[in-house]
Symmetry: C2
């Protein structure tokens, strides 16, 4: 498969007290459309990734909202899969292009979270877990990931300090990204001194509550224009699912759905881990970045922590991971995150990522998890010249 990306846009991820859900979505959408070589009226279909605008903003039906506010009457739907909603919206858009029913599709990911209190948002986010088997017993997302972290730390004998390396690296990357929610650098000591949220996860192991939106304009492969080195294609898009409840999974020191989705994605794109120049993975908690890197075969099981500590996943390392700052520092407006990954990767493949540019990036991967791992979406993106050399 091969679908083009014509333009991208994103708000800063932050606490946008002065902006509504609608403002954020339209801001990103208009930026992506303005940066595309087509008019608003060329859009054939709209897919909005959003997890919980009903609970967070009293507003469902966001597909039609975005379409109408852009002055359009085109088919529009909201797509949801918890924190993977953005990547699933991208995937639904890809289906619409490949189906021949749309030439151009607008994908918007959006979430407005800061209008509620932190405890209310924590409660809303539990809608991504199994309400009957987890929510009803008082779990929160930090506590679910804490269980996974405890099991991983015991099995692979790692310390909280080594887990903190993810936050340190991602805050460093965030300091280079003008759209990141947090641009302050951290030390391992800072992370260790932050309060426990759910042992062993501390405040600075957790991604923040954020407002924001990102958008991407997709097009049919043959409609991509411009110089080859500015062309970006999605060359694989796969999803795998699993039980919502943690205790029903085959393993809690990994996310099996991400293993399966990435395996299919590499096959679909006809590339291997070695071909990938950068990855944007789902670091909702520091431990989750280790799962991601191991599940997708970038490192052996248990080896991601040491690799991270050695700097291999830092900008300039052999595999730059979350050069945007990731969910940890760039921020995590849940429905927007998957689309924001596509935004970041498009900038990187075009060589337009400024201070955080990965040198000569040609092929990149995004990894987006819903809940504690019941949904995993993996997308692989390639620059135009990659095909000329490798695929055609």
């Amino acid at each position: 498969m091969k679908v083009g990306i014509l333009g991208v846009g994103s708000t800063r991820f932050s606490e946008h007290w002065d902006k509504s859900l609608r403002d954020l979505a339209l801001s990103a959408a208009c930026e992506a459309l303005t940066h595309s070589p087509i008019g608003f009226a060329d859009i054939d279909a709209i897919f909005v990734g959003n997890m919980s605008a009903g609970l967070l903003a009293g507003q469902e039906h966001i597909g039609a909202l975005v379409s109408s506010e852009l002055g359009l009457t085109v088919p529009a739907m909201r797509v949801e899969g918890a924190c993977a909603s953005g990547s699933l919206a991208l995937q639904a858009g890809i289906f619409s292009i490949l189906s021949g029913q749309a030439r151009y599709a607008l994908i918007v990911g959006v979430e407005k979270m800061s209008d509620l209190s932190t405890s209310q948002v924590t409660s809303v986010l539990m809608n991504a877990a199994d309400e009957e088997l987890e929510g009803a017993y008082g779990f929160t997302f930090p506590s679910l990931y804490a269980l996974m972290a405890q099991a991983y730390m015991k099995r692979y004998k790692i310390t909280e300090e080594i887990m903190a390396e993810v936050a340190v690296k991602n805050h460093y990357h965030g300091s280079l990204n003008p759209l990141a929610q947090f641009r302050n650098v951290l030390t391992v000591k800072d992370v260790m001194n932050s309060s426990y949220i759910s042992d062993p996860l501390k405040l600075l192991d957790c991604s923040p509550i954020s407002d924001g939106a990102s958008a991407v304009v997709l097009c049919r492969e043959d409609l991509v224009t411009g110089p080859t080195l500015k062309q970006v294609f999605v060359v694989a898009s796969t999803t795998s699912t699993d039980f919502l409840a943690l205790h029903r999974r085959s393993d809690i020191t990994s996310i099996p759905a991400a293993y399966r989705a990435s395996k299919k994605a590499f096959e679909m794109a006809g590339v291997t881990q070695k071909d990938i120049d950068l990855v944007e993975v789902h670091d909702c908690f520091t431990i989750a970045e280790y799962f991601a890197l191991e599940d997708m075969g970038f490192f052996e099981k248990g080896a991601a922590p040491l690799a991270t500590q050695k700097g291999l996943t830092r900008l300039g390392g052999i595999l730059p991971v979350n050069v945007s700052g990731g969910l940890k520092a760039c921020g995590h407006p849940v429905g927007a995150t998957g689309v924001r990954k596509a935004f970041e990767i498009t900038l990187q493949l075009r060589g337009e990522a400024g201070d955080r540019q990965v040198h000569d990036a040609r092929i990149a991967l995004s990894h987006n998890v819903g809940g504690s791992g019941a949904t995993a979406v993996v997308n692989i993106f390639a620059r135009g010249d990659f095909f000329k050399d490798k695929l055609s």
Copy 2:
């Protein structure tokens, strides 16, 4: 376009006090799969239509929920567009089949509404309207449709009695449908004697609060099996969108999005209104059935009430409308409704609709509206022999 329907299933629409969201979704999904000539493991992708499980049941992330509970790990996403969520899930599934990324797709529509009080549900449903421009000012859905009804009644000089004819007809149809929520017949007098909810709409002008789920198994055109007269295809699937807020629309005595979607659907299917043997339209309130029939060109503007009073839209009439009982009598679990329409039409085209069978139905249309008309989805379905005669 042409996508096959292999199997369908549906719970009864009712107040299912003893069943959860999960129970309902799985019951319909298993029935559709069991009635399909494929195994569960053949499903390549799942699309769940649901409006507000987050607000109504504390559970988002239902795509992965359905996939995992069926023992699958396939791509799954929830699709939402208010009360049109079910039809949009069907459309997303159609895109996945036409894209070549899925051979078989499972579509499930589900909503569990009766766990909250009526006033809470009324508040949840307002998430389908414009929160900033309507919800914040105290509108409810009955009051929005009441405004539309008032305008229509004034323009076309119809009475509340003539509006009540829709409820009378649809309750008669519901009396023939074992899966309908209401199987009691009504008279115009019964409707007139029911309490005002929002003038001119009375209780018996309104569709009920319902629990239920419906499911459809879609397949690639060439994978349809069985005798021609049992084969069912989706031959058009279109959506149009409009402003969420009523006062921003070009007309409130019709639903312009439904006009646009149906026009495209007839073109896509290569048929006209005259070819259609039955329609399932979105009668969330009695007045809405008149909008539907006129917007789609089955009757001139202002002519649907008299046609209905004359019995033209009754089972046995020239255009049977909502032989299932419609939203009014069959029930309206919002996310399930669009899929339930596909379920009903599949039974009708196969000649398996029992007492409510439309004689020799070969081509049928479903019309599904989200909110007060910001989303309209029109699907056209045809029996296998229709192509042999007309299209090929």
